[in-house]
Symmetry: C2
Subunit: 312 residues, 2 copies
Amino acid sequence: MKKYVFGVDIGGTTVKLGLFDVEGNVLDKWEIPTRTENDGTQILPDIADSIREKMQQMDNDTVIGVGVGAPGPVDSEGVVHRAVNLGWGTFSIKETLENLLNMPVMAGNDANVAALGEMWMGGGRGYKDLVVVTLGTGVGGGIIVNGKMLTGATGAGGEIGHIHVDDAETEVCGCGNKGCLEQYSSATGITRLANRMLASCDDASVLRDGEVSAKSVFDAVKAGDALAIKVAEQFGEYLGNGLAAVAGVTNPEAFVIGGGVSKAGEILLDYIRPHYEKYVFHGSRNAKFTLATLGNDAGIYGAAKLILDLEN
Amino acid sequence: MKKYVFGVDIGGTTVKLGLFDVEGNVLDKWEIPTRTENDGTQILPDIADSIREKMQQMDNDTVIGVGVGAPGPVDSEGVVHRAVNLGWGTFSIKETLENLLNMPVMAGNDANVAALGEMWMGGGRGYKDLVVVTLGTGVGGGIIVNGKMLTGATGAGGEIGHIHVDDAETEVCGCGNKGCLEQYSSATGITRLANRMLASCDDASVLRDGEVSAKSVFDAVKAGDALAIKVAEQFGEYLGNGLAAVAGVTNPEAFVIGGGVSKAGEILLDYIRPHYEKYVFHGSRNAKFTLATLGNDAGIYGAAKLILDLEN
């Protein structure tokens, strides 16, 4: 009898759902809206309804359970500790959804769950000690140790975007501190670095001609723009330094770089690796750098893997 | 039938051995010399002989196995990858000692194993996500995630002494890099900070009267010496910053501070905590700071726990 799992990735606007077999093939994939009104109380019932509907076409005995990724700290018991984007306070995702569906549920933080997905079926395949770095609006991290998510005491494991990397910073990060990795290596951070650089000199640059973004910076780098290359070096210096600190803690086999910024491709790694190697302890110098491959599906893959691991 | 385990901590000069019951009571404790000649080939046979001798007074069936901590990177399979102090290259400690003793063996890096010891029976009791920081000649770290040692890909997990914390440093660390945490927060680092401070000003200080050491600095702090207090603030700023980075990765419940420097007592924590809280991501702000309690015995306790965990 073939067995199946559901993987669910809860975002601020939509919930992604996937049906997987145990080999990691996605058999079906769909989305429902995230109803954040009334403190998000309808979100889990909506998910339960959607899964039940899908199961009407299946034999119930064949479903192992449901894995869930949520945008907030989720501890190892499946309890979320405030997810502001969803209007959620503190409660057990696991217990609530188990009661709704009457089947096993596992839950984790979305970035950590996505890391599990990249390990299982994405850029981190073949590794069991890895760090998935998501360079998007912010810098997120998911850390896998010996094949398992590093959740941490309060579900804040892998929050590497707020590692301090610059004492001289005067602007405040969203977290309230100054000099966080996220201020330089996220899409927003790269834009900030580029605008600072443009304001500080009169050097010619294609970046002066249009809207500055992480994409326009790396497009300019590929076109050989000298100023953009300086920005990329700064980005790489900060990120290489930050990831070297991460490696000093977990000694991973590989870093998997994802998020919107990673669409720049392999060239991105060329700007990170040399700085990483400069700062890192020699025992971790040979860590591999690779790109994430699952994109926005990493969350549903990882959520599926989370519940699958219950069986093993 | 009562069950027992042996815990072995291999140092550069002596090997510490302990016989434990499964509740963590140490029943016997002794040392043998570490014979590092001939590439340290005699070290494991000497340990095997010493354990066999002890076992002649016991019923063999009651011994679960032997745990070993060694001063070098040891991977999760029990393979050491060069231990320069012992003359060792790369080989399996686990297999070698299992063949000599015909019973289960587990091995790990000494700092990681000591962290397990502090969790089991020392300053980290009651926590399952913790970081043990050893402030001695260098800065060592042992990281416990969900009750298990974080070994890392090549056994270099927890090498937090080489996290980069100062871009302006001109002196080179033992590892070849510049600005490593160890350069400021080890016993040697504190002495260096104090000598720098003494050379940079003419302020009166009791530190001008004798030999400067980590101990003399913290003795002077306790006596209210203004210059020593400045040094302690610098030490705390660097260490607080470094430990905040560690927390950004693993989100521990607690930091347990050990090593020679920790003999200064609780006052040490007063200089670390405020800086940690300044730099750390809010999800980890409430981590506890506490002192290690097992001293030089942490290694044999942790080694015993390592083999005990096989049973569970």
